[in-house]
Amino acid sequence: MFEPDSKIIEVSMSDMKIATNPHILRSSGIGSCVVITLYDPIGRIGAMAHSMLPAATQKNAEINAEERRRDQRSSALDSANFSASLRYVEDAIDAMIVELAKLGAPKERMEAKLVGGASMFEVFDKNPNSIGTQNVEAAKKKLEEEGIKVVATDTGENCGRSADFDLTTGIVEVKTKI
């Protein structure tokens, strides 16, 4: 199914990766988190982000700043493969747009897809205000503000998902286990 020389690049929680044709960006075991993909069909380049919360609160922002200072002093967190600000949908979308633009992919050419935002627990994380729902709504709102069209979603319900984003076609294949 995938091209033989394609490489699968894992995108873990609070992470964002950019890849080009013919590679695959993959996020596994997505629950209440939301995975956002942006794809430029002309350049066949795209980004995948895996965020946990809609937006940073003031307290979160202060902690992020402190973590960034700590990151500069120590490389310990580099191996952890995540960045504090990518925990938040709004910041992650900003980062994707900036990084893709640097590689010659303007946001005007982008199409977005959303995966995840489930409510896995009936008592602790009830809809309509579950963290998952808030994540998906925040992503839609931010993408609309940026003028990026959401062309497909597989979100909500109470199921975990994994997503493979094929940079050759822009197709996002979603897998569930139940």
Binding site: G31, S32, M52
Partner: protein, 219 residues
């Protein structure tokens, strides 16, 4: 309160000693519940970023049944009891006094029984360490989900981040059940993960420091 992120060797040892007290009690309760011998197979205490928690239990897509609870009282934290799916089905059989291997899918009653197992393990564990530390800790009502491992845990982790906590102290205890009377394929495993936010961990460390006669537990 000043919070320190890195536990010293003494701090880890003190946390592990405390966790052993809790795990022993939890193991006894679990044995009584399922009428099977139960062992603590492994126990580890580490400080790590929230995002790394799922990795201590397994792969993101592993099918599991996870029971989660919040810790209330003098500290803030969360608990997760993670059963690999085969173990969840087997323990459901034991709890319902059915033959092991007869369940293919968890019914509502099985889910209630598994939630209760979480309550009993967490309750025994927290009661033991509360006594040890003289810090009040009680568990909330449990909630349950069956799905991919990471998908059942990311909501709990997001809750920590939301509260401004990015580093956690994780207690990982692996229970092995039915070690004498069941065959190798029927053995039941459960991972018990207790997460404390940094301020709560500092509070617990303060109490451990008193117990140990004043040695520094974190740096």
């Amino acid at each position: 309160m000043e919070t320190k992120n890195q536990l010293t060797k003494e701090g880890i040892a003190a946390f592990e000693k405390m966790a052993h007290e809790g795990a022993k009690k939890a193991s006894v309760s679990l044995s009584k519940l399922i009428n099977q011998e139960t062992e603590v197979m492994a126990l580890a205490v580490r400080t790590l970023p929230v995002e790394k928690i799922p990795e201590i239990v397994g792969s993101p897509e592993d099918m599991v049944t996870t029971v989660i609870m919040e810790i209330k009282g003098d500290v803030n934290g969360s608990l997760a009891l993670v059963y690999p799916q085969k173990s969840a089905l087997n323990i459901a059989d034991l709890l319902a006094k059915r033959e092991i291997g007869s369940t293919a899918q968890l019914a509502e009653l099985d889910k209630s029984a598994l939630k209760e197992s979480g309550n009993i393990i967490a309750g025994s564990f927290l009661a033991a360490i509360s006594d040890y530390l003289t810090i009040n800790m009680v568990e909330s009502i449990p909630d349950i989900a069956t799905n991919m491992l990471k998908a059942t845990i990311d909501f709990m982790l997001a809750g920590f981040i939301k509260k401004g906590v990015s580093d956690t102290v994780a207690f990982e205890i692996d229970f092995g059940m039915g070690t004498t009377t069941t065959t190798a394929t029927e053995k039941i495993k459960a991972y018990f993960v207790l997460l404390l936010d940094t301020e709560s961990a500092a509070k617990v460390l303060g109490s451990l420091k008193k117990i140990s006669g004043g040695r520094d537990m974190a740096e």
